[in-house]
Amino acid sequence: MARARRFLPIYGLLLPGMLLYATWAAYPLISSFLLSFSEWNLTKPTVFIGLDNYVRALGDPFFWRALSSTVGYTIVTVVGQLILGLGAALLLNQRIPGRSVLRLIYYLPVVTSWVIVSLVFLYLYNGQAGALNWLLRDVLGVIDKNVAWLAEPSTALWAIAVLGIWKGIGWTMVVFLAGLQSVPDELYEAASMDGAGSWARFRHITVPFLRATSTFLLVVLTIGGFNAFISIFVMSSSATGTVGGPLNSTDVVLTYMWKQAFTQIDLGYGAALSFLLAGAIAAISVVELRLARRQAST
């Protein structure tokens, strides 16, 4: 009795939050898992169809195409953000004037919403009079006629990936900066006394110190790449009239899932696709962590 009285207020504090969580996160997760084994279009009764949705996905060329676009988008954006984010962090780790203002500027795209930056890049990529065409054709002369960046199947996904990199540099930089600040100055000092040049110092002191930071960033940025949705949704539908256009070239797993669930109203198949994506994300995160650990031990 005394025990119950002791724990009662504790469970009281837990109850409202956990109730909400159970209803809106745990229950949906379980029901979605069950839904992925069913056929349902919101009107007819749900039919249990076993693994059919998953088997269907594995034989669906549009799913495979979307998955390979997802992987391509992820590789390009992760590599781009890591390189440029590290570059920005190394620059700001020096004593240069206006460091805090520069950091603020680099971080600006991070706090701006995906919808707004997608619209801005849609404008910059305009096929007739966009600023990018003007810059590349009239100023730099690297292209000889205007390109409809988002309406061209060969360029659309990569144009969207450039936005993904641009938006993520600031965040990657801040995380790298925190890692760089953990390197003790004495190490650089000692290395210089031993005659190490700037590259040798970077290679043998900075890089090992940034290993944990880089692994963290690799995993988190990969998850972010797999979850890219709003930019692709907004830009492809505005530029071509179809989500995932032109010619499905910007379809990633999430946009394909979206269309199956909310335009085809094939909720079971959509749920199965979302679990396949979650599984892929989990598997890749584990592989990345393993590789990072192996690298660290050699």
């Binding site: 949906p28 020096q94 240069i96 600006l108 919808v115 619209l119 404008y123 925190a178 979302s274």
Partner: protein, 280 residues
């Protein structure tokens, strides 16, 4: 040897010009967005693009605000953001406090379940939350948005606040317990005042996430009266072409509160940078 000389790995002028170059790349899209918002419709796609508008006008702002019920959308966003932020921060404070300071039967299991659902990508929950909202009559409703945004931020906020509460010295709690205070009173009068920096950080991030949320809003809202800013901005993209001046004026109206918070509370953004991680 002094440290300043050692740190100069590249010539100073080169470092500085690279840094300025990158700053220009980051700023240019914003600069064009702002200048376009002040251009009359005829000039929005001029070649070469002008940074300083030839015939600057604020018509886009007045028209964006008065057309399409924009004031209404702004209010919808304020309501949804305020309630969901208040909800997720206060519920997370209760949860985080209990997980950090008390032992009780089921603690590991409940906390583990919370962490597990946190790992699941948000879009996996989109379809089942849609079905649930439909069954509960919360589709096409601002209350539905408040509930989903509260839950969206609850896991991460709980996790972070738990860290703050766990780092507090035991002595302050001992003193309160000797006075016979129960968990509710200790939370209110001891733990919360000490957790102020943590509460500020999670409040800012919850505000940002709710203010900018797009996917659930576009899935669940069909009545235009209920639109929030992120989806309302797109109403200016019309079938016969996008009115860029209006789109960017509307975007800047939506962006303004975010920028004010960002510039005023910068240090919270940097200290909280790691937590924004999962919100791709």
């Amino acid at each position: 040897m002094n440290v300043a000389r050692l740190r100069r790995r590249l010539p100073r002028w080169l470092v500085f010009s690279l840094a300025i170059g990158l700053a220009l790349v980051m700023l240019a899209p914003f600069a064009l967005m702002i200048s376009t918002a002040f251009k009359p419709h005829a000039y929005v796609l001029e070649i070469p693009p002008r940074l300083i508008p030839e015939a600057p006008t604020i018509d886009n702002f007045t028209e964006a605000w008065s057309s399409n019920n924009f004031g209404r959308y702004f209010l919808n966003s304020v309501i949804v953001t305020a309630f969901s932020t208040a909800g997720s921060v206060s519920l997370a404070a209760m949860l985080g406090f209990v997980f950090a300071r008390y032992e009780f039967p089921g603690r590991r299991l409940i906390f583990g379940a919370l962490l597990f659902t946190m790992m699941v990508p948000g879009l996996v929950l989109l379809i089942p939350q849609f079905v649930l909202a439909k069954n509960l009559g919360l589709l096409n409703s601002l209350l539905g948005l408040v509930v989903v945004y509260t839950v969206m931020n609850l896991g991460l906020n709980t996790f972070l606040l738990r860290g703050f509460f766990a780092a507090m010295p035991q002595e302050v709690f001992d003193a309160a317990e000797v006075d016979g205070a129960g968990p509710w009173r200790i939370l209110r009068s001891v733990a919360l005042p000490l957790a102020r920096p943590g509460l500020a950080t999670v409040t800012i991030f919850s505000f940002l996430a709710a203010w900018d949320e797009f996917t659930w809003a576009i899935v669940s809202l069909s009545d235009q009266q209920l639109y929030t800013l992120p989806i309302a901005i797109r109403l200016f993209q019309r079938a016969n072409g996008t009115e860029w001046g209006l789109v960017f004026a509307a975007s800047l109206i939506a962006l303004a509160p975010v920028l004010v918070v960002f510039v005023a509370l910068q240090r919270h953004f940097v200290s909280g940078a790691f937590m924004g991680a999962t919100k791709g």
